[in-house]
Structure formats: structure tokens, C-alpha cells
Symmetry: C2
Subunit: 333 residues, 2 copies
DNA sequence: GCTATAAATGAAAGCGCTTACATTTTTACT
DNA sequence: AGTAAAAATGTAAGCGCTTTCATTTATAGC
């Protein structure tokens, strides 16, 4: 692999000049520039970005932490970020934390060690203190789907509470009075907030919420199935079921079908996230739109603005959840 | 951020010794080792992996190229690879090529520039010659879902032709005689192979295949919808439809429902890939199992074996597609 | 206790770049 | 043409680590 040294030799200039034309951050006469470019082309020169990073303490790459590398939610988030950054010539390094504190930390430290210029974190398990410490250390980062008051200018958030509220309100408006709720893992901030919204809507309608109406799932399809079974086994009466995400909702739907329960006639279902599959399910799923793609984009923009000094971008950190009514929920008769 | 120099100073030893205990690749007396470890802990030392890479020409990271960062197929592939490698202390850097030659090349060169120890490529658009050239350059890599004869020991493949054959054979066995086919983009090797398998099965059953029975989609849901419309508009008669992947199959299914066509009673559908959603669709989708998760794992194992000298792994590069019969296909009466 | 050998440690030269500073060349003006 | 300032280029010192080779220290055998 050709190095900058060989280029400089072939072009008959110094290392510094070659470096200058590469980064084009200083004036080089057109003539020498051409000589250098020719030499590069001739040698098939590719700068060694590791060496560049070490020398410049800059990597032109931003690190991303997601919980999982699969699934529609994170898929869209990663796509949005990568597209936006690549368009500006920045690279994306992705790691996963599996919602586990140790692994999230490891991943973050790895990204820092890789000299990422900034991080975009979907950090669920790591403590607020750790994130504050990151700020102390001077690490540039942005948080997706996590709100910390003292870090609020770094948070790209959706109002999950409001989303939970909307979902439940929708069912109440349809006349449902007996609801059950399949939540996400309650140690997660978003799962808590969504549940809080649910309770709030119930409360405003003067409907009591008891522990018996709650099943704590894990955001995966299978726990939707389990949740439905759980309520059924216990003889819980309900005409509608609110799920804290679409994947669990699709699990509920699929299990209901196995059991001969007709959706939405006998059971209304509402999800959360509006993942791509929500509109391909049968019946199509009523859900809360989580604009994760746009939020990913926004996170990237925010980095471009603060770290890479791109001026002409507008950063709006607050996103509003919207109800998306489809066919899985109908009037209770 | 503490550097190795400060550690060596605090521990009262040389740089070399600190490096030795970090990599523990040379004997260091227990006493000094402890001094160094203490110093590291005290300073919260984290090695700068950029510097490590530059010095050692090794990065302990492997680069992955996928077509898209979203979607169930690539999600599973990335997860499998990352999990396997992380378990061995290796890191994963992921890039996407969007099935575009220029972007695939860019991504590959980026990964090489980042001094990845090896690459795992789902390269669709790049030429065979380019891949051969990579080998010439001494780049370590493995190909997923692409077969090149002279690189066969680097290919982790599924027999797509055989998969296409099985899908169609299944429908023929069910008595269907009028089939149509929604293919993937035909410039892609896998789309071609699947179609070839389809034709072969038809041929063995003495059924002619005409251009009118083919719609070229793009592997996305929406082109399933478009495909169904296409055949319908043209007045094509068919009792079953073979789709080159599950996403298009789910598009067909969803469009059929909109049009009041009952699946499977009036139309049998078979997909390909067996993505997670296939079993959550209604009706559940008959498909060909593509063990992408296992193939991802295998790709990672192969790298562990050849590049990181992990001995106790068995690499089986050939995977066999299997028919997964569910409810979207039934006997033709 | 003394030497021969092995084990542990240190010194220093890179890895391929960037960049502050020094030097040379060009340009503009009198 | 001669000078001062500006522009272009070169020199060389790092960035934080690994690794070869040299040196020192410990171990064992007599």
C-alpha cells in the first residue's frame, strides 16, 4: 500500500504538500496540486485513516450505539444516521449494547477509543452519572430517546408519555372501558413513560388501573403472545389491549388468531412505534407514530452542526407522537 | 486522557513493559505487572486503539458491508456477526453499500483504510475482478451470498437456485399449474439463481415459462403490491405466485387483501428467506428458509479461524435451503 | 562465590500521517 | 530593478502505541 511518502517522492514535493492537497486546507499552487494528484492516481494511493486519526486527533467518523443491530426500529435509526452523515463525507461506526450496562459502557469506550469525533447514543442501561461524566470528559454526544434534564440540549426525544396517553385515549374514545396493558421492560425510561401516559388517560376517564391489568413484556413479539395468554389465564376481562410497541402488538394479534379471537371485532389492539410492518399486518395496526427515521436524521444534523460546523442546519430536538388509526381498533359496542 | 507514558511513569517502568502487560504477550514478573495494573487503574487508563492499530497494523476489528442497515435480513446478519466476534473480543465496523457499485467500493476502501483485520462482505454491485484484486492485495475477506469460483473458499453461500426450485416444486406438488413469479432485481446473482430454480422446476413439470409470467421487483414490500397489480392488469391467469423474497410476498398478500382476493383459497403464495415476520403474517407465509443468522455466524467463525488463529472452529461454507410450509399455500382444486 | 544461561526490562526506532514554524519563491508596488 | 509583503513549500516534531534488539537482573549449576 502506497504511503504519503511515496506520493511525495513521485510528485517531487514534501510530505506536507501532499497532506495539504489531500485535506485541501491550505493553498497549494495549481501546478503542484496537479503533480500530487497525478502521483496519487498513479500509485492508487489511499490515505491510511488510522494514521490520519492519530495525527489529527480527528477521525471523520461518528460512533453510534444501538440496543440491537436488528429490528425495524434500530434499522431505521441506523439508516437515517448513516445516510445523513455519509452525505457529508463522514463515516459511521455502529456498536450494540444489548440494553446491558456493561456492554453499553464497553461499546461507548470502544467508540471513544476509536477516536470518533462524536457519538449518537441510544443508551438504555447506562446511568445518568456515567453520561454526565462523558460530558465532563469533553466527549461530544447526542442522546436518542432518553431525557436527562441537565443534558437536555443533547437529547433528541419523543414524548413517550404523550404517546401512551394518545393510544389509550383513542381506545377510550371508541368506548372501551376494560383495557389491559402490555408494557416494555419497566426499568427502561420509555416503557415507564408510555405506561404513565396510559395511566393518565385512564385516570382522566375515571377508570381505575390495577396491577392485574399490566403485563410486563420485553418489547419482543413473543412477549405479546405471552401477555395475551397471561390475561386470558387469569380470567381478566378486556375489550382492548394497549401494547407498548408494535412488535408485541403483532404477537398479540397472531396469538389471538390462533385462539380464534377476532381482531378487531372481539378485541381492539393498539401498538406503538409505527414500524414498517404495522401497515402490512392483518388487520393493519393502529399505532403511535414514532418518527425514528427523522429523529436519527436530526441526531446526525445536530452532530454536523456542533462538531463539524455545518451552519445551515436547523435542529429541532422535540418530536411529537401522532396517533395513526388503522383497522385493529374499532368502536366498542 | 491518560497515555501509556503516564502509566509507565507512575508505575516506574518503561513504555515497553506497560505494553507487555497490556497485550500480555511476553513474560513480565508478577510484581511489576501488579504495579502496572495498579497504575492503570489509578489513572483510569484506556489504550488508544487508533495508536495501537497504527503501531501494530492490527485493529482487532472486522469490517462488515451490508446492502442496507435496515430490514430483517441484514439485521440478523449483522447481529450474528457482531455477537460472534464480540465474544472473542473483536469489534465490528459496519458500513452499507446500497447495492451500488461506487458506494460499495467506497465502503470497502473505508474499512481497509480503518485497518480492519478482515472483511465480511455482502457485496452485490462490485465486480468479480475487484474482489479478485482485493485478494491480490492481500486483504482478508469472506463473501456472503455470492459465489465466485476462484474465490470459493471465501464464499459462504446458500444454494439459491435450489431454493427457487423447492419453492416452485412445492406449488406444483399442490397441483398448481398456472404460476407467476415476482423476482428480485435480475442483475443480482441471487435473484437470477432463484429464478433459474423456478424455471427448472417448471421445466421438469413440462410447463412453459413465458416473459408474461415474470415481474421484476426490487425485493421490497411495495414491489410485491406492484407485481400483483401488474399481472392482474394484464389479465394473466394464475392460481399461485412465487416471490423471490418474503417482503415482496407480504406486499402481494396485503394487496390481495385490499382487492378482496382470499389467500390461500384463491391464491397461494410462497416467499423466500423466512424472515421473522413470515410467521406473523396472516396467513402465515410458506417460504424457503434462508439461515442468514447461521451464515453470519459462520462468516465470523471463518474469520476467527483464518485471521485470528482460533483453532477449534469448524467452518461449513455451504448451506442448504429448506422449504417451510405454512398457511399461505394450499392444494389447488 | 563465580560463571553460563535464561528471564525480565529498557531504549529507541518506527507506524503514516498532521501541523507549527522556518524557509524559499512569487507577487505587487515604488 | 529592488524591496516588502504575501503565497507556496519544506522541515521536523509529534500523535500513542508496538516491537526489535540491547542491556540488566535473576536463576542454576558447579
Amino acid at each position: 500500500m502506497a504511503t504519503i511518502y511515496q506520493v511525495s517522492e513521485l510528485a517531487g514535493v514534501s510530505l506536507a504538500t501532499v497532506s495539504r492537497v489531500m485535506n485541501n486546507n491550505a493553498k497549494v499552487s495549481d501546478k503542484t496540486k496537479q503533480k500530487v494528484l497525478d502521483a496519487m492516481a498513479q500509485l492508487g494511493y489511499q490515505p491510511n485513516s488510522i494514521a490520519q486519526s492519530l495525527a489529527s486527533n480527528r477521525s471523520n467518523s461518528v460512533g453510534v450505539l444501538v440496543s440491537e443491530l436488528h429490528g425495524p426500529f434500530f434499522g431505521d435509526m441506523m439508516s437515517a444516521i448513516e445516510e445523513t452523515l455519509r452525505y457529508e463525507g463522514k463515516h459511521t461506526i455502529i456498536t450494540s449494547g444489548h440494553s446491558d450496562e456493561k456492554r453499553e459502557k464497553e461499546s461507548i469506550e470502544f467508540l471513544i477509543g476509536r477516536k470518533c469525533d462524536a457519538l449518537i447514543l441510544h443508551a438504555e442501561a447506562v446511568s445518568d452519572e456515567y453520561l454526565l461524566e462523558l460530558e465532563q470528559r469533553g466527549i461530544e454526544f447526542v442522546l436518542i430517546n432518553r431525557y436527562i434534564e441537565s443534558l437536555k440540549n443533547r437529547c433528541i426525544c419523543l414524548d413517550n408519555r404523550q404517546g401512551g396517553y394518545l393510544a389509550t385515549q383513542h381506545l377510550l374514545n371508541l368506548g372501551h372501558r376494560q383495557l389491559v396493558y402490555v408494557s416494555g421492560p419497566l426499568w427502561k425510561q420509555d416503557a415507564q413513560a408510555r405506561l404513565t401516559g396510559h395511566k393518565q388517560a385512564l385516570n382522566e376517564a375515571n377508570i381505575a388501573f390495577t396491577q392485574a391489568q399490566l403485563f410486563e413484556g420485553d418489547y419482543r413479539q413473543d412477549s405479546g403472545c405471552k401477555g395475551l395468554d397471561y390475561f386470558l389465564e387469569r380470567g381478566q376481562k378486556f375489550t382492548a389491549i394497549v401494547c407498548a410497541n408494535d412488535e408485541m402488538a403483532s404477537g398479540v394479534m397472531s396469538r389471538a388468531r390462533q385462539l380464534g379471537i377476532v381482531v378487531p371485532d372481539e378485541l381492539s389492539i393498539v401498538g406503538f412505534d409505527n414500524i414498517i410492518y404495522a401497515s402490512y399486518l392483518y388487520p393493519t395496526l393502529t399505532t403511535i407514530d414514532y418518527p425514528i427515521y427523522d429523529m436519527g436524521k436530526m441526531a446526525a444534523y445536530s452532530i454536523l452542526k456542533t462538531v463539524y460546523n455545518k451552519k445551515d442546519v436547523q435542529v429541532t430536538p422535540v418530536f411529537v407522537p401522532k396517533l395513526k388509526v388503522r383497522n385493529s381498533s374499532i368502536q366498542h359496542t
